[in-house]
Symmetry: C2
Subunit: 237 residues, 2 copies
């Protein structure tokens, strides 16, 4: 054990932020111990806004270091400080072209797929239950959910194309792009919003990711007001 492994991380996250889930998976895969603090970004808590003026999740702090803000900067930080310890099992390939592809796909799922589909499911079906009315709380909007479901099918098709033409989502090896896509899908899956019968390839790929030890804490988490869909924690869904 080196000093790095024993150093302490504090991670501000929300259980249904795909970007937060991605960083939790990264930490588990890189052997990082962390204190997890649940943050409700819509509250715009003063102390949290001082850490990250953008008010977004996740935020990570190592020991007494500065706040590291955003999934992409944290992912790179983790790989830059711990990647060498994983040797062959590192989640970032070494060739610049392959690295660009990993980064492209992470952005696809954490930004585009979140803005077009998963973020809507989470907001309409979960966050609005937690939020006071004056902060945007209320009933799910069925029109928004309909649009999100249509978009989700497009994202499933694209994911299906990627994993059908490659072993993993960004190439022949598992990378952090697989974790980002799985983090995104797992949020939608909890809410029963993944059309699993659309694509056999996606299903097979997700079941490989889902059975990793790093995924277990996510699968055992439950929101009191909203139980997970029946297949959510099932490894043979």
């Amino acid at each position: 054990m080196t000093d790095e492994i024993q150093s302490m991380f504090t991670i501000y996250h929300h259980p249904f932020s795909a970007a937060s889930r991605f960083i939790r998976l990264m930490c588990a895969e890189y052997g990082i111990q962390a204190d997890y603090i649940v943050e409700k970004p819509w509250e715009r808590r003063d102390e949290f806004m001082l850490l990250n003026p953008a008010g977004t999740l996740p935020v990570a702090i190592e020991n007494d270091g500065p706040a590291l803000c955003g999934a992409m900067p944290i992912m790179e930080y983790i790989d830059e400080t711990r990647g060498f310890m994983l040797g062959d099992r590192t989640l970032m390939p070494s060739h610049p072209e392959a690295r660009a592809e990993v980064r492209r796909i992470i952005e696809w799922f954490l930004v585009k797929c979140d803005a077009e589909a998963v973020g809507y499911f989470v907001n309409e079906k979960l966050s609005k239950l937690e939020m006071p009315r004056d902060q945007g709380g209320g009933e799910p909007d069925s029109g928004i959910l309909r649009v999100a479901r249509t978009n989700m099918r497009h994202h499933m098709k694209y994911l299906g194309y990627l994993v059908a033409t490659r072993d993993w989502i960004a190439g022949s090896r598992m990378t952090s792009a697989d974790l980002a896509a799985a983090a995104s899908l797992s949020c939608a899956d909890y809410l029963g919003e993944v059309p699993w019968d659309e694509d056999e390839h996606v299903r097979n790929w997700y079941s490989r990711i889902k059975s990793r030890p790093s995924f277990r804490p996510l699968l055992s988490e439950k929101v009191l007001a909203m139980p997970p869909s029946p297949v959510y924690a099932d490894l043979d869904f």
Copy 2:
């Protein structure tokens, strides 16, 4: 001269995409020769969509390599393949914490500031002139512009805070974060939408960036239907 410097880049961009301008500045600073192809992303051209299924700019291709999609992946690619040649003048610091800060600020300007202010100015005042009505063209929406102007003042304040407390935007040295923020500001400046009298620190910082040779091609570019604001190309604005 090494082989790398002589290799050829093709870059798909739009003159008023802040992310594209950022990559044009990166190329100029890293001594990269590139063929620039103007792409109108709202046309969703088949060949372009095959290069980048997200349909976003910029996209870069080195020689016969794969398409590199998105400002952040291209920035990292350029630094990973050329950073060593710049030695002390590299635009990415070496310490992981400092790298995270550079990445955070790039995202701030290319994603957040674009979504809240600069992207609205460009869309309302320029893109809608170029777009056919059925693709979203038409007159600028004064309500949207009003919101964007309010948001822009918040971004100017934050930028002012950053450059007043540091020499450059992400620390004591110029980094690619300065280029990203300047790329964003330059789009708004062309359209007369930067409230320069808000903050002296921002003005001084921008005039340092603006006088760099890498900035010249941006300053000499004009859109026929819309001349730049009087201070746009003025180095002593």
